[in-house]
Protein backbone atom coordinates (compact mmCIF):
# COMPACT_ATOMS: atom_id res chain seq x y z
CA UNK A 1 0.00 0.00 0.00
CA UNK A 2 1.29 3.41 -0.83
CA UNK A 3 -0.04 6.28 1.10
CA UNK A 4 -1.58 8.87 -1.15
CA UNK A 5 0.42 12.02 -1.36
CA UNK A 6 -1.09 14.75 0.73
CA UNK A 7 -1.07 18.08 -0.95
CA UNK A 8 -1.31 21.03 1.34
CA UNK A 9 -1.90 24.27 -0.47
CA UNK A 10 0.54 26.77 0.95
CA UNK A 11 -1.34 29.49 2.76
CA UNK A 12 -0.51 32.91 1.47
CA UNK A 13 1.66 34.76 3.98
CA UNK A 14 0.36 38.18 4.84
CA UNK A 15 2.63 40.72 6.55
CA UNK A 16 0.17 41.27 9.40
CA UNK A 17 -0.02 37.55 10.13
CA UNK A 18 3.73 37.27 10.05
CA UNK A 19 4.30 40.15 12.46
CA UNK A 20 1.68 38.77 14.79
CA UNK A 21 2.92 35.21 14.80
CA UNK A 22 6.52 36.37 15.28
CA UNK A 23 5.62 38.57 18.24
CA UNK A 24 3.50 35.82 19.76
CA UNK A 25 6.39 33.42 19.39
CA UNK A 26 8.84 35.87 20.95
CA UNK A 27 6.69 36.65 23.97
CA UNK A 28 5.91 32.97 24.43
CA UNK A 29 9.57 32.00 24.41
CA UNK A 30 10.42 34.94 26.66
CA UNK A 31 8.05 33.65 29.33
CA UNK A 32 9.60 30.20 29.07
CA UNK A 33 13.11 31.66 29.22
CA UNK A 34 12.31 33.67 32.35
CA UNK A 35 10.74 30.66 33.99
CA UNK A 36 13.75 28.52 33.10
CA UNK A 37 16.10 31.16 34.45
CA UNK A 38 14.24 31.29 37.77
CA UNK A 39 14.16 27.52 38.04
CA UNK A 40 17.84 27.34 37.12
CA UNK A 41 18.77 29.89 39.76
CA UNK A 42 16.72 28.11 42.42
CA UNK A 43 18.31 24.77 41.61
CA UNK A 44 21.87 26.05 41.33
CA UNK A 45 21.71 27.88 44.62
CA UNK A 46 19.24 25.67 46.42
CA UNK A 47 20.50 22.16 45.84
CA UNK A 48 23.80 22.77 47.71
CA UNK A 49 21.66 23.97 50.62
CA UNK A 50 19.65 20.75 50.62
CA UNK A 51 22.69 18.55 50.93
CA UNK A 52 24.78 20.78 53.16
CA UNK A 53 26.24 19.30 56.32
CA UNK A 54 23.61 20.03 59.01
CA UNK A 55 26.40 20.98 61.42
CA UNK A 56 27.31 23.94 59.27
CA UNK A 57 23.77 25.33 59.05
CA UNK A 58 23.11 27.63 61.97
CA UNK A 59 19.36 28.10 61.35
CA UNK A 60 18.70 24.42 62.03
CA UNK A 61 17.92 23.62 65.62
CA UNK A 62 20.09 21.06 67.40
CA UNK A 63 20.35 17.80 65.43
CA UNK A 64 17.95 18.89 62.67
CA UNK A 65 18.52 18.15 58.99
CA UNK A 66 17.06 19.67 55.86
CA UNK A 67 14.05 17.38 55.64
CA UNK A 68 13.11 17.92 59.26
CA UNK A 69 13.55 21.64 58.71
CA UNK A 70 11.42 21.91 55.60
CA UNK A 71 8.56 19.46 56.22
CA UNK A 72 6.84 21.58 58.91
CA UNK A 73 7.20 24.60 56.64
CA UNK A 74 5.60 22.73 53.76
CA UNK A 75 2.82 21.72 56.08
CA UNK A 76 2.34 25.30 57.27
CA UNK A 77 2.29 26.60 53.71
CA UNK A 78 -0.29 24.12 52.47
CA UNK A 79 -2.35 24.34 55.65
CA UNK A 80 -2.58 28.14 55.62
CA UNK A 81 -3.37 28.27 51.90
CA UNK A 82 -5.97 25.51 52.09
CA UNK A 83 -7.71 27.16 55.04
CA UNK A 84 -7.73 30.47 53.21
CA UNK A 85 -9.18 28.85 50.10
CA UNK A 86 -11.85 27.00 52.05
CA UNK A 87 -12.99 30.28 53.56
CA UNK A 88 -12.62 32.46 50.48
CA UNK A 89 -13.98 30.24 47.71
CA UNK A 90 -17.63 29.87 48.80
CA UNK A 91 -17.77 33.53 49.73
CA UNK A 92 -16.24 34.57 46.42
CA UNK A 93 -18.68 32.43 44.42
CA UNK A 94 -21.56 33.87 46.42
CA UNK A 95 -20.48 37.46 45.88
CA UNK A 96 -19.80 36.82 42.20
CA UNK A 97 -23.24 35.28 41.71
CA UNK A 98 -24.87 38.13 43.57
CA UNK A 99 -23.14 40.64 41.32
CA UNK A 100 -23.78 38.74 38.10
CA UNK A 101 -27.32 37.45 38.64
CA UNK A 102 -29.07 39.06 41.59
CA UNK A 103 -28.00 42.62 42.25
CA UNK A 104 -29.58 45.50 40.37
CA UNK A 105 -27.17 46.84 37.78
CA UNK A 106 -26.13 49.96 39.68
CA UNK A 107 -25.34 48.07 42.85
CA UNK A 108 -23.55 45.36 40.88
CA UNK A 109 -21.23 47.89 39.26
CA UNK A 110 -20.42 49.53 42.59
CA UNK A 111 -19.74 46.21 44.24
CA UNK A 112 -17.55 45.03 41.38
CA UNK A 113 -15.55 48.22 41.65
CA UNK A 114 -15.01 47.79 45.37
CA UNK A 115 -13.87 44.20 44.89
CA UNK A 116 -11.37 45.26 42.25
CA UNK A 117 -10.13 47.96 44.61
CA UNK A 118 -9.58 45.38 47.31
CA UNK A 119 -7.32 43.48 44.92
CA UNK A 120 -5.06 46.51 44.68
CA UNK A 121 -4.38 46.81 48.42
CA UNK A 122 -0.71 45.94 49.06
CA UNK A 123 -0.11 42.92 51.25
CA UNK A 124 1.82 44.92 53.88
CA UNK A 125 -1.39 46.78 54.59
CA UNK A 126 -3.21 43.49 55.08
CA UNK A 127 -0.37 42.38 57.33
CA UNK A 128 -0.59 45.51 59.46
CA UNK A 129 -4.35 45.21 59.68
CA UNK A 130 -4.18 41.52 60.54
CA UNK A 131 -1.54 41.92 63.22
CA UNK A 132 -2.78 45.10 64.85
CA UNK A 133 -6.53 45.09 64.36
CA UNK A 134 -7.90 41.69 63.46
CA UNK A 135 -5.79 39.64 65.87
CA UNK A 136 -6.87 41.64 68.90
CA UNK A 137 -10.48 41.90 67.81
CA UNK A 138 -10.87 38.22 67.06
CA UNK A 139 -9.09 36.85 70.14
CA UNK A 140 -12.25 36.79 72.31
CA UNK A 141 -14.02 34.63 69.77
CA UNK A 142 -11.13 32.18 69.96
CA UNK A 143 -11.87 31.87 73.68
CA UNK A 144 -15.49 31.16 72.79
CA UNK A 145 -14.44 28.58 70.21
CA UNK A 146 -12.29 26.78 72.74
CA UNK A 147 -15.05 26.71 75.33
CA UNK A 148 -17.78 25.53 73.00
CA UNK A 149 -16.06 23.63 70.22
CA UNK A 150 -12.92 22.62 72.08
CA UNK A 151 -13.68 18.95 71.45
CA UNK A 152 -12.78 19.52 67.80
CA UNK A 153 -8.97 19.20 67.62
CA UNK A 154 -8.82 22.34 65.46
CA UNK A 155 -10.02 24.44 68.38
CA UNK A 156 -8.35 22.55 71.22
CA UNK A 157 -6.40 25.50 72.58
CA UNK A 158 -4.96 26.64 74.90
CA UNK A 159 -5.94 29.91 73.29
CA UNK A 160 -3.24 32.32 72.22
CA UNK A 161 -3.32 35.54 74.22
CA UNK A 162 -2.41 37.72 71.25
CA UNK A 163 -4.76 36.22 68.67
CA UNK A 164 -1.87 35.98 66.21
CA UNK A 165 -2.61 32.40 65.26
CA UNK A 166 -2.99 30.24 62.17
CA UNK A 167 -6.68 31.06 61.97
CA UNK A 168 -6.01 34.80 61.98
CA UNK A 169 -3.38 34.40 59.27
CA UNK A 170 -5.71 32.25 57.20
CA UNK A 171 -8.48 34.85 57.51
CA UNK A 172 -6.12 37.57 56.34
CA UNK A 173 -5.06 35.37 53.44
CA UNK A 174 -8.70 34.65 52.62
CA UNK A 175 -9.44 38.37 52.47
CA UNK A 176 -6.46 38.84 50.22
CA UNK A 177 -7.40 36.16 47.71
CA UNK A 178 -11.11 36.94 47.78
CA UNK A 179 -10.97 39.73 45.15
CA UNK A 180 -9.17 37.74 42.48
CA UNK A 181 -11.43 34.73 42.83
CA UNK A 182 -14.51 36.94 42.90
CA UNK A 183 -13.44 38.98 39.90
CA UNK A 184 -12.73 35.95 37.72
CA UNK A 185 -15.86 34.09 38.83
CA UNK A 186 -18.03 37.13 38.16
CA UNK A 187 -16.51 37.47 34.71
CA UNK A 188 -17.24 33.85 33.76
CA UNK A 189 -20.71 33.91 35.30
CA UNK A 190 -21.56 36.97 33.22
CA UNK A 191 -20.46 35.12 30.11
CA UNK A 192 -22.99 32.33 30.47
CA UNK A 193 -24.81 32.28 27.12
CA UNK A 194 -28.36 33.64 27.57
CA UNK A 195 -29.46 30.88 25.21
CA UNK A 196 -28.88 28.28 27.90
CA UNK A 197 -30.14 30.41 30.75
CA UNK A 198 -33.40 30.77 28.84
CA UNK A 199 -33.48 27.03 28.16
CA UNK A 200 -33.39 26.36 31.89
CA UNK A 201 -35.96 29.04 32.73
CA UNK A 202 -38.32 27.77 30.03
CA UNK A 203 -38.21 24.34 31.65
CA UNK A 204 -39.58 25.88 34.82
CA UNK A 205 -36.35 26.48 36.70
CA UNK A 206 -36.30 29.02 39.49
CA UNK A 207 -33.49 31.51 39.36
CA UNK A 208 -31.37 29.45 41.74
CA UNK A 209 -32.05 26.26 39.76
CA UNK A 210 -31.09 28.05 36.58
CA UNK A 211 -27.82 29.05 38.23
CA UNK A 212 -27.23 25.51 39.41
CA UNK A 213 -27.99 23.85 36.10
CA UNK A 214 -26.41 26.37 33.76
CA UNK A 215 -24.34 29.15 35.31
CA UNK A 216 -22.25 27.10 37.71
CA UNK A 217 -21.41 24.26 35.29
CA UNK A 218 -20.49 26.80 32.63
CA UNK A 219 -18.40 28.82 35.04
CA UNK A 220 -16.71 25.83 36.63
CA UNK A 221 -13.42 25.93 34.70
CA UNK A 222 -13.19 29.67 35.26
CA UNK A 223 -13.93 29.38 38.95
CA UNK A 224 -11.28 26.69 39.30
CA UNK A 225 -8.80 28.88 37.45
CA UNK A 226 -9.63 31.77 39.76
CA UNK A 227 -9.31 29.56 42.82
CA UNK A 228 -5.90 28.41 41.63
CA UNK A 229 -4.71 31.96 41.12
CA UNK A 230 -5.92 32.70 44.63
CA UNK A 231 -4.27 29.58 45.97
CA UNK A 232 -1.05 30.54 44.23
CA UNK A 233 -1.14 33.90 45.88
CA UNK A 234 -1.91 32.36 49.27
CA UNK A 235 0.91 29.84 48.92
CA UNK A 236 3.45 32.48 48.09
CA UNK A 237 2.21 35.29 50.33
CA UNK A 238 5.08 36.56 52.43
CA UNK A 239 4.54 39.84 54.21
CA UNK A 240 1.04 39.37 55.55
CA UNK A 241 1.79 35.97 57.02
CA UNK A 242 5.17 37.01 58.39
CA UNK A 243 3.57 39.96 60.17
CA UNK A 244 0.47 38.21 61.50
CA UNK A 245 1.67 34.78 62.46
CA UNK A 246 3.99 34.17 65.35
CA UNK A 247 4.99 30.73 64.18
CA UNK A 248 7.82 28.25 64.29
CA UNK A 249 8.73 25.06 62.50
CA UNK A 250 6.09 22.76 63.96
CA UNK A 251 3.24 20.66 62.66
CA UNK A 252 0.17 21.67 64.65
CA UNK A 253 -3.44 21.47 63.54
CA UNK A 254 -4.76 23.62 66.38
CA UNK A 255 -5.89 26.87 64.77
CA UNK A 256 -6.18 29.10 67.81
CA UNK A 257 -3.28 28.10 70.09
CA UNK A 258 -0.09 29.97 70.76
CA UNK A 259 2.10 27.42 68.97
CA UNK A 260 1.70 27.76 65.21
CA UNK A 261 3.43 26.50 62.09
CA UNK A 262 5.09 28.92 59.72
CA UNK A 263 4.93 29.06 55.93
CA UNK A 264 7.90 28.75 53.58
CA UNK A 265 7.61 32.26 52.23
CA UNK A 266 7.17 33.88 55.63
CA UNK A 267 10.06 31.84 57.00
CA UNK A 268 12.34 33.07 54.22
CA UNK A 269 11.30 36.64 54.86
CA UNK A 270 11.89 36.36 58.59
CA UNK A 271 15.24 34.55 58.37
CA UNK A 272 16.78 36.10 55.31
CA UNK A 273 18.05 39.35 56.82
CA UNK A 274 20.31 37.50 59.24
CA UNK A 275 21.18 34.54 57.06
CA UNK A 276 24.77 34.14 55.84
CA UNK A 277 26.77 31.57 53.95
CA UNK A 278 25.18 28.17 53.52
CA UNK A 279 22.06 29.30 55.40
CA UNK A 280 21.13 31.37 52.38
CA UNK A 281 21.31 28.25 50.24
CA UNK A 282 19.04 26.40 52.64
CA UNK A 283 16.45 29.17 52.43
CA UNK A 284 16.69 29.19 48.65
CA UNK A 285 16.17 25.44 48.68
CA UNK A 286 12.90 25.95 50.56
CA UNK A 287 12.03 28.47 47.85
CA UNK A 288 12.68 25.78 45.25
CA UNK A 289 10.26 23.53 47.07
CA UNK A 290 7.63 26.28 47.13
CA UNK A 291 8.13 26.67 43.39
CA UNK A 292 7.55 22.94 42.95
CA UNK A 293 4.44 22.99 45.14
CA UNK A 294 2.94 25.81 43.08
CA UNK A 295 3.67 23.89 39.89
CA UNK A 296 2.00 20.77 41.25
CA UNK A 297 -1.06 22.71 42.41
CA UNK A 298 -1.42 24.27 38.98
CA UNK A 299 -1.11 20.92 37.21
CA UNK A 300 -3.81 19.47 39.44
CA UNK A 301 -6.07 22.37 38.56
CA UNK A 302 -5.37 21.89 34.89
CA UNK A 303 -6.17 18.23 35.22
CA UNK A 304 -9.49 19.00 36.91
CA UNK A 305 -10.42 21.53 34.25
CA UNK A 306 -9.55 19.17 31.42
CA UNK A 307 -11.13 16.07 32.83
CA UNK A 308 -14.63 16.96 31.69
CA UNK A 309 -13.61 18.95 28.66
CA UNK A 310 -16.31 17.37 26.49
CA UNK A 311 -18.91 18.72 28.83
CA UNK A 312 -17.42 22.16 29.32
CA UNK A 313 -19.52 23.93 26.74
CA UNK A 314 -16.39 25.22 25.06
CA UNK A 315 -16.98 23.27 21.88
Amino acid sequence: MTSPEIIRPKAKQRPGDRVFSASALISGSLILAILAAVAGFLMLQGIPGMFADPESVSIYTEGENFVEFVVPLIFGTLWAAALALVMALPLAIGIALFISHYAPRRLAQGLGYIIDLLAAVPSVVFGLWGANVLAGAIQPSFVWLEENLGWIPLFAGPVSGTGRTMLTAAIVLAVMILPIITAISREVFLQTPPLYEEAALALGATRWEMIRTVVLPFGRPGVIAGAMLGLGRALGETMAVAMVLSGSGVIVFDLIGSVNPLTIAANVALRFPEAYGINVNVLIATGLILFAITLVVNSIARYIVNRRKDFSGAN
Binding site: L203, E209, T213, F311, G313
Partner: protein, 259 residues
Protein backbone atom coordinates in the same frame (compact mmCIF):
# COMPACT_ATOMS: atom_id res chain seq x y z
CA UNK B 1 -53.39 17.08 28.89
CA UNK B 2 -53.67 19.81 26.30
CA UNK B 3 -55.40 23.06 27.01
CA UNK B 4 -57.22 25.90 25.37
CA UNK B 5 -55.52 29.28 25.25
CA UNK B 6 -57.37 32.55 25.06
CA UNK B 7 -55.54 35.83 24.61
CA UNK B 8 -57.47 38.99 25.43
CA UNK B 9 -56.33 42.49 24.49
CA UNK B 10 -52.67 41.78 24.96
CA UNK B 11 -50.11 44.58 24.68
CA UNK B 12 -46.44 43.67 24.99
CA UNK B 13 -43.73 46.14 25.91
CA UNK B 14 -39.96 46.43 26.11
CA UNK B 15 -39.68 49.20 28.71
CA UNK B 16 -41.47 52.07 26.98
CA UNK B 17 -41.49 50.54 23.52
CA UNK B 18 -44.74 48.84 22.64
CA UNK B 19 -43.73 45.89 20.48
CA UNK B 20 -47.10 44.17 20.07
CA UNK B 21 -50.55 45.68 20.41
CA UNK B 22 -54.08 44.49 20.96
CA UNK B 23 -53.84 40.74 20.32
CA UNK B 24 -57.05 38.73 20.65
CA UNK B 25 -56.65 35.09 19.82
CA UNK B 26 -58.11 31.70 20.70
CA UNK B 27 -56.04 28.56 20.38
CA UNK B 28 -57.90 25.26 20.59
CA UNK B 29 -56.48 22.25 22.37
CA UNK B 30 -54.74 19.57 20.30
CA UNK B 31 -54.23 21.87 17.40
CA UNK B 32 -51.26 23.45 15.72
CA UNK B 33 -51.36 27.21 15.32
CA UNK B 34 -48.76 28.85 13.10
CA UNK B 35 -47.69 32.46 13.60
CA UNK B 36 -46.46 34.10 10.42
CA UNK B 37 -45.49 37.61 9.44
CA UNK B 38 -42.57 39.77 8.35
CA UNK B 39 -39.42 40.10 10.42
CA UNK B 40 -39.75 42.39 13.43
CA UNK B 41 -43.55 42.20 13.62
CA UNK B 42 -43.37 40.68 17.10
CA UNK B 43 -43.98 36.96 16.59
CA UNK B 44 -41.19 35.97 18.95
CA UNK B 45 -42.20 38.65 21.40
CA UNK B 46 -45.78 37.43 21.38
CA UNK B 47 -45.07 33.72 21.66
CA UNK B 48 -42.83 34.36 24.65
CA UNK B 49 -45.73 35.95 26.51
CA UNK B 50 -47.55 32.61 26.41
CA UNK B 51 -45.18 31.10 28.96
CA UNK B 52 -44.07 34.28 30.68
CA UNK B 53 -40.60 34.10 29.20
CA UNK B 54 -41.00 37.65 27.93
CA UNK B 55 -40.48 39.14 31.36
CA UNK B 56 -37.07 37.45 31.68
CA UNK B 57 -35.72 40.36 29.64
CA UNK B 58 -35.01 43.34 31.92
CA UNK B 59 -37.68 46.01 31.59
CA UNK B 60 -40.05 43.82 29.57
CA UNK B 61 -43.71 43.72 30.61
CA UNK B 62 -47.18 42.79 29.48
CA UNK B 63 -50.66 44.29 29.71
CA UNK B 64 -53.69 42.10 29.10
CA UNK B 65 -54.81 38.55 29.73
CA UNK B 66 -53.65 35.13 28.66
CA UNK B 67 -56.09 32.46 29.83
CA UNK B 68 -55.07 28.84 29.84
CA UNK B 69 -58.24 26.82 30.45
CA UNK B 70 -59.72 29.94 31.98
CA UNK B 71 -56.86 30.74 34.36
CA UNK B 72 -55.09 34.01 33.72
CA UNK B 73 -51.33 33.49 33.44
CA UNK B 74 -50.86 37.11 34.44
CA UNK B 75 -53.25 37.02 37.37
CA UNK B 76 -52.04 38.09 40.80
CA UNK B 77 -50.16 35.40 42.66
CA UNK B 78 -49.43 33.31 39.58
CA UNK B 79 -45.90 31.93 39.75
CA UNK B 80 -44.13 32.21 36.38
CA UNK B 81 -42.10 29.13 37.25
CA UNK B 82 -45.30 27.07 37.45
CA UNK B 83 -46.51 28.56 34.18
CA UNK B 84 -43.32 27.51 32.40
CA UNK B 85 -43.69 23.94 33.59
CA UNK B 86 -47.15 23.88 31.98
CA UNK B 87 -46.12 25.62 28.81
CA UNK B 88 -42.92 24.27 27.32
CA UNK B 89 -40.76 26.01 24.77
CA UNK B 90 -38.39 25.12 21.94
CA UNK B 91 -36.09 27.84 20.71
CA UNK B 92 -34.85 28.90 17.31
CA UNK B 93 -31.29 27.83 18.00
CA UNK B 94 -30.99 24.31 19.41
CA UNK B 95 -29.80 24.71 22.98
CA UNK B 96 -29.25 21.41 24.75
CA UNK B 97 -27.14 21.99 27.85
CA UNK B 98 -23.57 21.33 26.73
CA UNK B 99 -22.49 20.58 30.28
CA UNK B 100 -24.88 17.63 30.47
CA UNK B 101 -25.13 14.24 28.83
CA UNK B 102 -28.00 13.45 26.44
CA UNK B 103 -29.73 11.56 29.22
CA UNK B 104 -29.35 14.38 31.73
CA UNK B 105 -30.60 16.85 29.17
CA UNK B 106 -33.84 14.92 28.87
CA UNK B 107 -34.15 14.73 32.63
CA UNK B 108 -33.14 18.34 33.27
CA UNK B 109 -36.67 19.65 33.69
CA UNK B 110 -37.82 16.69 35.74
CA UNK B 111 -34.99 17.06 38.21
CA UNK B 112 -35.86 20.67 38.97
CA UNK B 113 -37.75 21.69 42.08
CA UNK B 114 -35.91 19.01 44.04
CA UNK B 115 -38.01 16.30 42.51
CA UNK B 116 -36.53 12.88 43.01
CA UNK B 117 -36.89 10.16 40.45
CA UNK B 118 -35.77 6.55 40.73
CA UNK B 119 -33.28 5.25 38.21
CA UNK B 120 -35.73 2.89 36.56
CA UNK B 121 -38.37 5.61 36.26
CA UNK B 122 -35.74 7.91 34.84
CA UNK B 123 -34.64 5.33 32.28
CA UNK B 124 -38.23 4.82 31.26
CA UNK B 125 -38.87 8.55 30.97
CA UNK B 126 -35.70 9.10 28.92
CA UNK B 127 -36.69 6.37 26.51
CA UNK B 128 -40.28 7.55 26.26
CA UNK B 129 -39.33 11.18 25.68
CA UNK B 130 -36.62 10.40 23.15
CA UNK B 131 -39.00 8.08 21.33
CA UNK B 132 -41.59 10.82 21.45
CA UNK B 133 -39.09 13.12 19.79
CA UNK B 134 -38.10 10.49 17.19
CA UNK B 135 -34.56 10.49 18.44
CA UNK B 136 -34.29 7.28 20.43
CA UNK B 137 -32.81 5.06 17.73
CA UNK B 138 -30.13 7.56 16.88
CA UNK B 139 -28.86 8.14 20.40
CA UNK B 140 -29.73 5.08 22.45
CA UNK B 141 -26.12 3.89 22.38
CA UNK B 142 -24.62 7.16 23.50
CA UNK B 143 -26.91 8.51 26.16
CA UNK B 144 -23.92 9.44 28.30
CA UNK B 145 -22.25 11.57 25.65
CA UNK B 146 -22.62 15.35 25.75
CA UNK B 147 -25.78 16.73 24.17
CA UNK B 148 -23.97 19.09 21.85
CA UNK B 149 -22.13 16.27 20.11
CA UNK B 150 -25.25 15.73 18.01
CA UNK B 151 -26.12 17.28 14.68
CA UNK B 152 -28.23 20.42 14.69
CA UNK B 153 -31.41 18.55 13.81
CA UNK B 154 -30.75 15.93 16.46
CA UNK B 155 -30.03 18.65 18.99
CA UNK B 156 -33.34 20.30 18.19
CA UNK B 157 -35.16 17.00 18.66
CA UNK B 158 -33.30 16.56 21.92
CA UNK B 159 -34.66 19.94 22.97
CA UNK B 160 -38.13 18.75 22.07
CA UNK B 161 -37.57 15.57 24.09
CA UNK B 162 -36.45 17.73 27.00
CA UNK B 163 -39.58 19.84 26.69
CA UNK B 164 -42.01 16.93 26.51
CA UNK B 165 -40.31 15.06 29.36
CA UNK B 166 -41.95 17.40 31.86
CA UNK B 167 -45.34 16.71 30.25
CA UNK B 168 -46.42 20.27 29.58
CA UNK B 169 -49.87 21.11 28.28
CA UNK B 170 -48.72 23.46 25.57
CA UNK B 171 -45.54 23.51 23.48
CA UNK B 172 -44.29 26.73 21.96
CA UNK B 173 -41.81 26.64 19.10
CA UNK B 174 -40.08 29.73 17.81
CA UNK B 175 -38.76 28.95 14.32
CA UNK B 176 -37.63 25.49 15.40
CA UNK B 177 -36.40 24.56 11.94
CA UNK B 178 -34.75 27.73 10.75
CA UNK B 179 -31.27 26.45 11.61
CA UNK B 180 -31.87 23.03 10.08
CA UNK B 181 -31.49 21.36 6.71
CA UNK B 182 -34.59 20.18 4.75
CA UNK B 183 -34.33 16.56 5.94
CA UNK B 184 -34.11 17.50 9.61
CA UNK B 185 -36.90 19.97 9.02
CA UNK B 186 -39.15 17.25 7.68
CA UNK B 187 -38.31 15.08 10.68
CA UNK B 188 -39.41 17.86 13.00
CA UNK B 189 -42.56 18.52 10.98
CA UNK B 190 -43.51 14.86 11.22
CA UNK B 191 -42.89 15.06 14.90
CA UNK B 192 -45.17 18.07 15.27
CA UNK B 193 -47.87 16.12 13.50
CA UNK B 194 -47.54 13.38 16.12
CA UNK B 195 -47.24 15.69 19.10
CA UNK B 196 -50.51 17.31 18.10
CA UNK B 197 -52.31 14.21 19.39
CA UNK B 198 -51.34 15.17 22.92
CA UNK B 199 -50.37 18.79 23.02
CA UNK B 200 -51.51 22.22 22.02
CA UNK B 201 -48.79 23.57 19.77
CA UNK B 202 -47.94 27.11 18.72
CA UNK B 203 -45.21 27.54 16.14
CA UNK B 204 -43.56 30.59 14.63
CA UNK B 205 -42.32 30.10 11.10
CA UNK B 206 -41.07 32.09 8.14
CA UNK B 207 -41.69 29.18 5.87
CA UNK B 208 -45.11 29.34 4.22
CA UNK B 209 -45.00 25.73 3.09
CA UNK B 210 -44.20 24.69 6.59
CA UNK B 211 -47.12 26.66 7.99
CA UNK B 212 -49.48 25.10 5.48
CA UNK B 213 -48.07 21.61 6.03
CA UNK B 214 -48.16 21.46 9.81
CA UNK B 215 -50.75 23.88 11.09
CA UNK B 216 -54.51 23.82 11.51
CA UNK B 217 -54.84 27.51 12.13
CA UNK B 218 -52.62 30.36 10.98
CA UNK B 219 -52.28 33.80 12.52
CA UNK B 220 -50.79 36.60 10.43
CA UNK B 221 -48.99 39.41 12.22
CA UNK B 222 -47.90 42.62 10.56
CA UNK B 223 -46.25 45.88 11.39
CA UNK B 224 -47.13 49.28 9.99
CA UNK B 225 -43.55 50.59 10.07
CA UNK B 226 -40.43 50.64 12.19
CA UNK B 227 -41.08 51.82 15.75
CA UNK B 228 -44.76 50.95 15.42
CA UNK B 229 -46.21 48.03 17.34
CA UNK B 230 -46.89 44.74 15.59
CA UNK B 231 -50.54 43.66 15.32
CA UNK B 232 -52.44 40.49 14.72
CA UNK B 233 -54.05 41.09 11.36
CA UNK B 234 -55.99 37.94 10.74
CA UNK B 235 -56.38 34.45 12.10
CA UNK B 236 -58.23 31.65 10.39
CA UNK B 237 -58.03 28.05 9.27
CA UNK B 238 -54.73 27.52 7.52
CA UNK B 239 -56.42 26.53 4.27
CA UNK B 240 -58.43 29.74 4.28
CA UNK B 241 -55.44 31.95 5.05
CA UNK B 242 -53.48 30.50 2.17
CA UNK B 243 -56.27 30.30 -0.39
CA UNK B 244 -58.82 32.90 0.45
CA UNK B 245 -57.82 35.35 3.20
CA UNK B 246 -60.23 38.15 4.01
CA UNK B 247 -57.60 40.87 4.30
CA UNK B 248 -55.51 42.16 1.42
CA UNK B 249 -52.23 42.37 3.39
CA UNK B 250 -52.50 38.72 4.32
CA UNK B 251 -52.98 37.75 0.72
CA UNK B 252 -50.01 39.86 -0.37
CA UNK B 253 -47.85 38.31 2.32
CA UNK B 254 -48.71 34.66 1.76
CA UNK B 255 -48.41 35.04 -1.98
CA UNK B 256 -44.93 36.53 -1.53
CA UNK B 257 -45.72 40.07 -2.64
CA UNK B 258 -43.89 41.49 0.41
CA UNK B 259 -42.05 40.50 3.58
Amino acid sequence: MSKRIEVNDLDVYYSKFKAVEGVNLVIEPRSVTALIGPSGCGKSTFIRTLNRMHEVIPGAWVDGEVLVDGNNLYGPGVDPVRVRRQVGMVFQRPNPFPTMSIRDNVLAGVKLNNQRISKSDADELVEKSLKGANLWNEVKDRLDRPGNGLSGGQQQRLCIARAIAVEPEVILMDEPCSALDPISTLAIEDLIEELKQDYTIVIVTHNMQQASRVSDRTAFFNIAGTGKPGKLIEVDDTATIFSNPSIKDTEDYVSGKFG
